[in-house]
Every structure is written in C-alpha cells, then in structure tokens.
Symmetry: D3
C-alpha cells in the first residue's frame, strides 16, 4: 500500500492516496450492476478508475472537482493502466489536505504573479492606455487568479493565464531594451490584454480546470470578445479613439494567420512583437512539458501541439 503519484503508477501497485475527481459517470455492467467510471487526477496526470458494484444512491455522494481518498489496485487493460478501486470516500477536515495541492498549477503563487503583473500596468506612461488596462484588470481580478490559459495544451494549469502573461511581460521588457523603436506602453498593454477574454471564453472552476467553452466563446472567440471589451472600456474611461483602436488592433492581430483566428495582420511593430512574444512563451512551455517526461539522449514521440514534431533531449539540455 503506497501513496505514489499517478505519473509513477505501474500495473500491480496497491495505492492509497488522495486524488481529484475530474470526471464521473454512472454506468451499468453486463451483469446489470451499477458502477462508477471515473477520471482521477493529481498534479502529475490522470487515470481512468472504476468502482464496481456500487450501492443504490452511492453515486450521488460524489461530484467532479472534489478531492477524494482512494484505495485500490493498478491493473493493465488493453494496454492502458486502469485503477480498480476498493475504497472511495470524500476527504474530511481531519485529512488536512488542500485540493489546490492536487491540481497542476503554475510554478509561482497567483498572488506573487498578480503583483508582478500589476507592476507592469503601473509602469504604463500613457494615461489612456493605463486607464483601459487598469479598469479591465480591476474587473477581472478574481477569475484571473485561477484561470488557465487553455482547455488543454499550453498553460492549461491553475493560474496558467497569469503565468503566461508574466513571462511575456518579462520578455517584453528586455526586448523593448534591444528594440528601442517599440513603445513599451503598447507592448505591455498588448500582452496584458491579448488573452484576457479567455476568462470568459472558457468555463473554468477555481481549480483552473476548464469544463467547456462558453456560448460567447464558441460564437465569437476570445479575440473578438477582447476587441469588444477594449472598445467598451475605452469609451467608459474616455480614452482617445486612436489609442483604443491600436489596442483593439493588437488583440485582433495577435494570432497573425487568418486560419488561427486573426482576420487582419499586424500594422504596427508593437503588434508584430506581441505575436512573437506569444509564440515564444507557448512553445517554450510546451517543449519543457515534453522534456519533463523524456530521458537524456532520447527522441520523443510526435507531439501534436508542436506540429507533430519529435523533440530531442541532448546532453546539453537545461532543466
């Protein structure tokens, strides 16, 4: 009986530990008994789990998003690991566990990141730009603390959106030093606003887990939603029309290619730079995630989000 994390599970392991209930279905087996078909998760991954032959009503005890205590055995079924559960209960106060410790999260605390991100807002010189950004950040502070940057793929972790913007802001700052033709106000504002409507494009709970795209997210997408938010807030704070349009243009063009959602291409250098800042951060994140599961000297399998490329982890790689 041990408390391994999911990434380390092997067939035959006897496990007793805490997990998040990510998905839950009640099904009926061939012998006509109800059973629970679940997805359990911790910081390191997910696994399919079954609790066979449940009592009537037992299925109503549990809801997705809860932290549960589980005992069971890891088995191999059709080449995949499966977790056969023998005991399952909700966590209780005396367990002294915090659900947040069981979800994948950004490497810094949301509070730290928020503070650093806000320091960039405060560094914006142009008043119209600052007012627009500050008002939006004021509106969205609460969801921003936990929002992921995606349903799956890059930065799909708790507070992933803050983390994505934080690293882009740091890069923006140093590159504005190298490329002095750039107006840092615009670059910072572009970073701060480009994905802000991901908060309303996806329904995520306070564990940073996205259950689905929202109605607005499906019908318009976060780019168009972001343009509309800037328009509205700029009118509210009485910002100059050109300034508002520059920010809307930066959000509209940051995916660059029409087939990725940008119907116009960047017409100012700050919008061009925003696109590359975004690409770099997403790619570095995804590559690190793949490297984490590789041994030195190996090639990975083709990685979907990296255009099906394989990665190589050389002896010169850095952690």
């Amino acid at each position: 009986m041990n408390n391994k994390q999911i990434a380390e599970f092997k067939a035959g392991d006897e496990i007793q530990s805490f997990f998040i209930l990510r998905a839950l279905n009640i099904k009926t087996s061939s012998n006509n008994k109800k059973y629970l078909d679940m997805t359990l998760a911790d910081k390191t991954g997910e696994i399919n789990a079954k609790l066979w032959n449940i009592e009537n009503g037992e299925e109503n005890t549990f809801q997705t998003g809860q932290l549960v205590k589980v005992r069971g055995t890891v088995t191999l079924w059709q080449n995949s690991l499966q977790f056969k559960i023998t005991k399952l209960r909700l966590t209780e106060e005396e367990d002294q566990v915090d659900v947040v410790d069981y979800v994948p999260s950004a490497p810094y605390s949301a509070e730290e990141m928020y503070e650093e991100v806000m320091s960039f807002v405060n560094r914006i010189v142009n008043n119209d730009v600052k007012n627009i950004v500050a008002k939006i950040y004021d509106m969205y502070k609460e969801p921003l603390m936990t929002a992921p940057a995606a349903k799956s793929n890059h930065h799909a972790v708790r507070s992933g959106l803050l983390y994505h913007m934080l690293r882009m802001l740091r890069s923006a700052e140093v590159l504005c030093g190298v490329y002095q033709n750039l107006n840092p106000d615009l670059v910072y504002a572009g970073v701060l606003l480009h994905d802000i409507e991901k908060i309303n494009e996806m329904n995520s709970d306070d564990l940073g887990i996205v259950s689905e795209y929202t109605f607005d997210g499906q019908m318009l997408g976060h780019i168009i939603m972001g343009v509309k938010t800037i328009e509205r807030v700029a009118l509210e704070v009485g910002a100059d029309h050109e300034t508002s349009m520059l920010l809307q243009h930066m959000v509209l063009t940051h995916h660059y290619e029409p087939e990725y959602g940008s119907p116009k291409k960047p017409m100012i250098p700050e919008a061009e730079m925003l696109h590359y800042l975004d690409m770099i951060d997403a790619r570095m994140y995804d590559m690190c995630r793949v490297y984490d599961q590789m041994d030195e000297g190996d090639f990975s399998d083709p990685v979907f989000v990296l255009d099906r490329r394989r990665l190589y982890k050389s002896s010169m790689h850095k952690e």
Copy 2:
C-alpha cells in the same frame, strides 16, 4: 465636335461635353511649364486627360468631384486613349446639368430601394432583432442613400450598398419559402447588417465614390466593426444576449473563409444561407458587368474578381 460618352471614344474624336473630375494632379513638363494631369469620368468609364501650359493659379480653380465642361481631342499614346483638352471650365447653373447623372449608379433610385429595404425591417417579428436593426438603420440612413458596396469591384456604384442588400433580401424571402427550417427574422437581419459598416470602412463622397479606406476600416475592417456596432446597439435597446450574439455571429462568419476575413465559420443555418446569398449577389453583379461589354459568341479576357476566369456569352444569354 460631339458629345459621345467615354466608352465610345475613338482616336481622332473632337469632343465637347460634361465630365466628372475624378483625379487631378499639377505637373511640370519637360519644357518646364505647368500642366494638369486629370482623370475624367462619366457613367460609362474613365479617361486620362491633359491640359497643357496652364496659367499660374489656374490649377486652383478645380477640385475632384466637380462636374466640368470640356472641349478637346482624343489621341492615342502608347496604345492608350488620351484626352487632349483645349478648353476646361466649371459647370454653371445655366448648363442645367446634375452631377448625379454623370456617376455610375444603381439601377433604381435610392429612395425606392430604401423603402423596399425598410419594408423588410418592418416584417421582422422578433422584437429584439427588429429593434437592433431599426436603430442601426435609423442611425445610418443618410450615408446609406449613396454608399457604394466597394471601392472597386462588385456594386462599386452610387447607392450600390442598398442595391446589394435589396437583391439579397428578395432572394432571402423566396428561399425562406423553400427552406422552411430557416428563421426569416435572422436571415433578413443578417442581410441588413452584414455589410452595414462598409459605410464607415470607406470614405465615400455623396457621388458614391470611395477615396480611401478609413483608419478604423484599415485597422479592423467592416466585419469586426459590424460586430461591435451590434453589441453596442443591442445593449442600448436592451436586447436579449443570445439574440445579440446570433446577429454578431452572422456578421462575423459571413465571409466564411478565414483568409477572406471570417475567423469563425457559420454555426447556424441562417448564417450559412447569408454567406451564399452574399456570394450569389456579388457574382451575378460582376458577371453582368462583364457581359455588358461582350458580344454574343465571344469569350472575355480573364476577369480578376472572378478568379481570373473567362466568361462566355452564348446565344442563350439573357440581358
């Protein structure tokens, strides 16, 4: 000395007639004399014209958009016709000419078309939809009377935008009869709103001539501008959120392909139909315009706006 229209000009013609001054440049010839390099236009076309050796100050008499009386000779220079002007003056009241008669226009009067278009607005049953459309049409009535639907290409004529929407509405009406799965309210509103922000995407004068794209037009384009206008007006009239979003979605998706400006594809049948109504009207317009200049039994040159296709005008064609 005759008053042929431009489309009929031949080298050697002596012309005396009225034309619109579409473009005007003051240049200096190799013998160091100032001259006027102009584009003159009437309903049938355009021609380059020169007035040599002008007096100092004479160039300030004229502005683009004015109707002028011209006397001169048509010559051939490097395989193109050119109009060598000997007399040029502004029209005066006693000439009894109206500038509107000298610009290409839709085949119906703006007033007639506006009335028929508004009858569709009034036929909308859903109050939210009707209020949004009615309010926007109220705001834009004046520019709508003359606005063209393009800078060049399809419906680039005075009141061309009204004409484009009118024909689409007529098609929408009859196709809603065939495809009863469609909600006519949405289809009519989609047609009425899909290109409405072309009014603010291009600067056109009251002759329906576009001088250039606007700042907003270049930075966002009429599709995104249209989405924002619906958002704003829907809030103003207190429309239901889903209704507002459906209309925004229809405008956003009506170009269908990302590379033509639509970052999302239609998710409701009414948006799908809107796209085809738009394509059909544009293509019929452009094909008729090419046919007008062809003889029966001939193939046209490759036509740029028709993907460089040639057209064939058979003995079975209809006028």
Copy 3:
C-alpha cells in the same frame, strides 16, 4: 418487451420489433460456435446485433435488404449499445409490414416528387434543351424513383436524389425571378442533369441503399459520366452543338473546385448559380439532420461533412 425505434434504444431495453437487415456476417466465436454478426436498421438509425450459437444452415435463411422480426435485449459493450438477439425470423405476409416503412426516405412520396420535377422539364422553352432533358429522364425514370443522392451524407435516403433536385428546382425558380439575367431553361436543365449519373455511379437497391460505387463510378465519376450522357443524347435528338456544350459545361463545372472534381470553373452565370443551388441544398439538408438530434441551447459535436464545424441550436431555431 416494447417496439421502440433504434434511436431511442437504451441499455437494458427488451425489444420486439421489425428491422431491416443492412449487413450480415457469419463468424465463429472463441468457443468455436458460429454466430451471426448483423447490422439492423430502421428509419431512425442502425445498431450492431448478434445472434449467438446458430444452427448449421440457419445463416442461409437471411439476406441483406430483408425485413426481419426480432426479439432481444439491448446491452452496453465497450461504450456502444449492442443488440443481443434471442429470436429472429423473416417477416411473413400476415405481419402486414412494408419494408419501405423501415428505410430512411425523402419526406415526400417519389411519385409526387417525380411529377413536380417533370413539370419543370415541361416548362423548358428551348426545344433542344427540353429534348435532351426529357429523353434522359425517360431513360432513367425507374431508377430515379428510389435512388439516393449519396452513399452516406447528404440525401443518402430512399428517393433522395429526386428530393435534392426538387428543392433545387424550387429555389432555381424563385431566384430566376430575382436574377433576371439568368436563362431559366439552362438553370432548370443544369439542376435536372447535374447529378443524374449518380444513378450509375453507385449501385443502390430499391430501398435506396448504396452497396458500393460502380466500376464506371470509380474510374470516371458521375460528373464525367454526365458529360458523356449529354453528348450522346444531344446527338441522338439532333440538338444544336452550342446548346449541348453549355449543358455539358454546367455539369462539368458544378463542383466548382478542381479538388472536388470540376476541372473547369463556370463560364456562364447559369453554371455559377447551379453551383450555389447545389451547395445550399446540401448544407441545409445536413444541418437539419444534425439539428434533429440536438436540444435547444446545445452545441453539436464537430460534424465531418460540415468541415468539422459544431452547430448551435438557439431558441430562435425553426423545425
């Protein structure tokens, strides 16, 4: 024991009803007994079914396309429903059931549709056009009554081809009213001929079920086959060469894009319109089919034939 339709089946249901035998394989189980692996169908869908441990020779009793009476239980196996059969027999006269009631069919009777379609043939004014179309419809009347328009996807139902053309003809009629530059003779003939060789491109039985593409269908496809048929029939009825070529051109170009099978693009407005009539009818059909299985307020899964788009069914949708 009930007689639910397939679309309503749930695990655990005890069913006794009639179904079409769409596919039939004799297999041997791991305990070396023969069993029947079948696909059963009704108007609402299909389901995999097993009849275990059959007697020698019993498998020869049944053939695909037959209507059978079945008793059995619905079970869940690897997340799919399966129909475990306990009794299976052919229908008999006293069952008083008609196989046609058990296959998906167009919403009107073939006879009604045929009559309306033929009324368009009769409305064609040009004699050459009318003779060509009339002769082809005379040749193909019988298979036309049941032919589907596809193996799967749009109008893949009994008499689906007639239904597809009928709706296109109705649209053609009303759009020729809006776009008077179109010659209705050509548009009607284009609709009537564009897919006519689907009859010979696919082998379909008189239930409108396609078993496979034909040799000619695979080697040339219905577009090229259609061009050849018009050529031959035009010579037989002594039609004018230009007329024959215009009809061949319309059929050749109706898929518009080379990668969808049209090596030339439309050079006459009637061919252009034919393409859009075809697209509209296919898309409306496919969208309605998806809507039928959706609840209001939901998004569908990505739909393969709609370029993997999701649909949304709003509160404003129409049945």
Copy 4:
C-alpha cells in the same frame, strides 16, 4: 544589307530577308497617318516591326500567315529591338522560298514521325485497343501532321504534337522493358490518345501556329474531349466496355493533379506511368529550349514554365 535570322539581330543592322507575318494591325500615328504594326517571325524568334506612312489600301495586301520579303533597319526603342521597314512585299514564285522553312518545327519531318508513331499502333496486341487507336488516328491523320502540342510553351512548334508523342513512345517502349508489370498495349494507347484532342482544343493553321482556343476547348478542355472521343469510337468499333473505360481513365488522369485538370488520379500502373512519361518529355523539351540560349557556366533567368526556376549550364552539359 544582310539576311541574318531574328535571334541574331542587333541595333543598327540593315536587313533584307524573308519572314512570316504573324500579326498585323493598322494604326494611326500622332501625325494622323496610317501605319502597319506587325509581328514578323522566322524559325529563331519574333520581332515587332513598323511600316510607316502607308498608302490607302496598301494594308489590304497582307494577311497573317503569309511569307513576306522585307527590307529595313533594326533600331532600339525603350530597351527593345524594333524593325523599321522600308520595303515590304509578298513573296512570289521566283523567290523560290517555302513558308515551312520559316516556322519553328519539330526536328524530324512529319512523315517520318508519323510512320514511327503508326508502327507503335501496329504493335498493339489487344484488338479492341488497337481498333480504337487506329480509328482515331485514321480520323485525325491530316491535322496531326502539323499540329503543335501547345499555344506557347512545350512543343509549341509545327508537328510538335507528333514529336511529343514519338519521344514518349520511345521511352514507353524501353521502360516497359524495365517494368514488366506494365501492359505495353495500355501504355502505348495511353500515349497515343492522351493529348490527341489538342487538335480540336486549339485552332492551329498548317504552319502549326495556334491562333486561339476553340469553343469546345474552352468549355471542356482536351482531357474531357478525349474521354468523349474514346467513348464514341469504342462504341463504333464494338470494343469491350472495360477496355474503353481503361483508356478513358488513362486520358482523364494523365495530368494527375486536380488543379491541372485531372479530376481523378491513376488507379492502374499504366496510367501512373503515362503521367511520368508526359512530365519527362515536357520538362526535357523546355529545359533544352532554355539551354539553347545559355552559355556554359551561366545561370538562366527564372523560367516561367519551370516553376520560375533558374537553370545552370555546367561544363558537363550535353547538346
């Protein structure tokens, strides 16, 4: 005064020689005098030529396609050579010149090539295949003697079509030796028929000069026309249906890519080989034509028909 060929013309040359009149326009100069604007050609190229200040009626003496005797001077105008003519007359019998010597032609006589091509027809073993090909070659013998394979580009010379097929047949013969899985009957027939309808796709005179595409050529193209011809002739000679279809399939698929005119791709190895035989011959022809104008050690300009590639002519090149 010399008789240089056009490819050798330099500014300042005084020329007296024979040329083909490829194009002829009557124009009016700025001093209101008529003049002839011509294109003259010989085996080596073309040049623009002017005969100034012609007498009334003189322009009616000449027609395109005629061989004329010319005296004049080569000049440079706007970086292009131009031929200023002082004397121009039709050739007469005593000039003892043959128009055929003045047009670009295949390197062998049409008669020789025809004989060798027909020897391949005779080598076909399968009677149906042989009968189809033989009948078509019988029908088209006369135009085949002079027809070019294109309006411009590869094999756009007198008897170029015969030359194209001849080289493909020679390659076909030797490659059928290497790839014994191929049926030579099908490969030969494929070569012999693949471009045969170019004869009717373009109007060419007996100098092998194409004036324009035909009506059928524009509306359907030589591939579809070829499929129809095989269909018709196969019925006339009573050939087996499968055989006829294989030949039609080969012609239909020989351009391979939909965007180059083939709506289906090869489904038999002989059709696959036909495509490569065609590509090889076209590319070798075009490359040799470019090499002819290059010096050793040089790179060419980008060549349009070779996807805008430059060629390099090394010291190892062969003539």
Copy 5:
C-alpha cells in the same frame, strides 16, 4: 497441424512452423501472470502472438531478430487474427533453416544486384564523378548488401536499396538513349548517390529490418547527410569543385518539393530526370505490392502511400 505462411492464416488453423521474432514484450495479465506479447513474421506478413503464463526467466531466452519454432492456434479477437502459442523454442542447427528465407527480400540476390550496379559505376566516363562514386561504394559495400530502402513502404525489404537503385539505373540507361541531352555520367551518379545515406539514416540489422531512425537521421535526414558525404569524399579524391557541387545539387533536389525535404529544385536536366526515375520506381514497386493482394476485377482499399488512392486490377493487368 500445418505450416501455412502468415498471409494464408485463417481463424481455427493449427500451425507448426518457423517465424522471425520481430517484436517482443513481457506483460502481466489481469490474473497477475507474466506473458509474452510478440510480433511474428515470415516473408508474407506479420501477426500478433501471445504466449500465456510463462515461467520466470523464460522471457530472457528470446531476442528480436531470432528465428523461432512455434506451435499454436490462430484465433479471432476483435476482428483481428491472433496467434495463441502453445510451444515456442529457438531454432537449432538440426532444424536446417536459414533466417534469410524468412524475411521479405528483393527478388534477386544481393551479389547479383551489386555486380550489375557496379557495372554502372565502371561505365562512368568522367574521372572525378567515377572516383567519388567508387570511393563511396567501397566504403559502404557491406551495409549495402542488406540495407532496405525504407522503414516501411517502398522497398522496405532486405537488399531493397540495391534493388531500388538497380531498377533506376536500368531505366536511366534506356532514357539516356531517348533523351540525348542528358549526360549519363551525372544521371548514373545521381541514382547511385541519391539514397546512399539511408544506410546511416536508419538502423537496420542484417535481415534488412529497420528498428529505428538514427540520431543523425532524425537531426538532418539522408538528403543532407548525402550532401555532406559527397563534399568530404570529393575533397579526398581531389575532384573538381563544380563536379562535386553538381552531384551535391542532384542529391539535394531529388525529392523536388520542399515539404518532402528538398530545399532547392533541380537546376540541371539530369537532376530533373533523377527525380522522375525515383518516383517511377517507388510507385511501380508500391503498386505491384498492392496488386499482389488483389483479385482481378477488384478495387483495393485506399492505399496510404499512394495518396489514399484505390487501385483497380483489370483483366489486362500483367503480373
């Protein structure tokens, strides 16, 4: 009990025969017993095989690449055949079997093919070209005898690389007869070198079975590796720079399209021809392989390596 080859296996067969062990995994079943999950192969194909309930240590007896003697039963599991093994041992001397008879191989012996290939090397006239090729063939003789031309797909058999080049050389020889503008030295050398670094791009054992791509193969690929090898060897044999570059250019460009690995396109006719020789040989090989498994009159399933085309095997096909 019989000794059928894998291609002929049917559910229920009792088999006793020799097979190559292509893959081997030790797994644990649901009842916690170890078992072997293997891929067995012979000249005709591969099959999944299981040996249940093995003794501890038994799994160490076997290694991939070995020839084993097997007894067992063919079963059907989830629509695939599976081989349930009851006895398994390594072959012994007295079995008198040779592993080479159990792997798919080129149709000629490596020695015969090598000799014919080398005769082309010897026929090269230019000393620099010959020295470069001869030296590389001297270096790579040993691996060349068994190397396949691919991991899967065309010529993925023992000595497949030699076979691929041999057929290309034969075609090259005869086409240089038809196209005398080609320098045979360059064409032969191009064929001999174009894929030579496949030897180092993939790790293959002496059965011609590729286990994986090499590090260099993944990082650069055989095209770039080939360019580097020619560069190095050309310097070693003191070849002329232009000559070395022409050979490097041919290798670099032989895949033609950038997306298939060629960053430049052919600039000399010999490189153009090399591309087509390569395509023809690959396509003929792949088509024959599909034909081998088809019956006359049938269409194949879509074939992945042939762009998902189906093939048709007519009554006129040749073996």
Copy 6:
C-alpha cells in the same frame, strides 16, 4: 546648384555632388550616338541617370563601385525622376571624400560591432561549441566586416550581417534570462552561425553591395553551406559528434518552414528560439525602414517583404 541627397531630389533641381556608380551600361540612342545609362546611389537611395552623346572611349573611364562627381538636372520622365548629367568625373584625392560615406551602412562601426559579437563567442562555456564558433569567426573575419545580410530587403547594407547578429545576440542574452530552460551556449552559437555562409552565398564588394549570388549559393544556399562548414570545422577541432550535430541542426532548421529552405523543423528549444530571434530582428528592421519614409498618421503602401501588408504610423510610434 546644390548638393541634396537622392531621397530629397525633385524635378527641376540643379545638382552638384558625389555619388556611387552602382550600375553602368553603354547604349546607343535613336540618333545613333553612344550614351551612358547609369544607376547612381548615395546613403539615401538610387536614381537612374543618363549622360548623352559621349565621346568614343569615354565609357571606359568608369567602373561600378567607384565614387564619381556629378553635375546635372533632375527631370521627370514617365512619372519617374531621372538625372540628366552634364558633367561626370572620377573623384580625386583633393576631393577628400570617402566612398564609405556614400553607401548605406549599419548604424554602428564594424569594429565596434565585431568586438561586441566576439564577446559573446568568448562567453560560450562549452569548449567544443566555442572552438567551432571561434575557428569559423577567425576564418571569416575579413569578409564579415563589410558583408550585408541580403541582396535586397532586411539588413542589405554594409556590415548588415554583423548588425543582424549583434541585435539577435542581445535579445538572446536577455531571453535566456527569462527562459532558463535554454542553454545559452547553443543559442549564442546558433545566432553566430545561422547566416554565416551568406558571406559565400553572395558576392559582395567591400561596400557591402551584392552583385549576384555565387555558384554555390545558387546550387545549395547558405543553410546547406553552413551545415557543411560546421561539419568540417567540428572535425578539425575534434568536437564531440552530438555537439556538432546540434549546431548543424540549428542552422538547418532556422528558417522553420520547408518552403523557406528548412527541410527539418526544430527538435530542441534552442533551435526554436533561434528561429524567433531571427524573425523578430528581420521584421523590426524592415518595419523601421518603412516607418522612416512615413509621416505620422499615415498608412504605407503594401510592403512586399512584409507579406504585402500596409503599416500604420500612429502618434504613439517611437523613432
């Protein structure tokens, strides 16, 4: 008489100043007199110039690349400015002008830039990496001082290659601070080597002006040439194989897309970052160059190297 720079020329200006002779052709006018057709350049641009009616032999006095003293008049011919020269002579010692002041150059001196670039070489920790880079920089020091980074477009100025690498190194340094998963040794080496063979891909004189691509440049391109140079130098300095391959891989993949010359995509994060560093520097350079010629509030014309986008120069732009 003034000494304006070319960018400020207006028709009618009388100019006396120094210019670089960028191109020179001797031509013959219509009155059969020789004249010089030249391109003159200074730091600000280029202009076409004519010296009419030269004496025999005068044309031999001048060579491209020389600095000349010119007197003449600016005229307008067919909408372009032209420089009609009346006096032309070579510069002499007493003119006290330096040719370098008349060519567009990087904004820093080559020496300064070289020193900073070399400081990055010295900062490389891994000995193999450092040895490879140091040796190559030792070999190429001289041409590196003046080499441009392109024939036209980005960094096509004297010492442009050094400038391009310098800015990329500065960005690399700061981004390695943000993305600590990157090995700075590899990123620096990647930047230092990625374009190094542009030195041998283009023939440039010591003014940094490219006359043409070299033979090797055309046949292979700087990417493949760079891979070969690293291979050779790595062997010479005895570097580890994996290290050499990583550097070759970075150079090979830095254009990212096959159609831009990279047959493989990045498999390590440092190669991915190299691509973005390259893109950012090229785009910032090109955008600044366009901005330099724009007024605030204006849109540019479509810019070819920026995918034909227009730029907008707002009131918030920075110099």
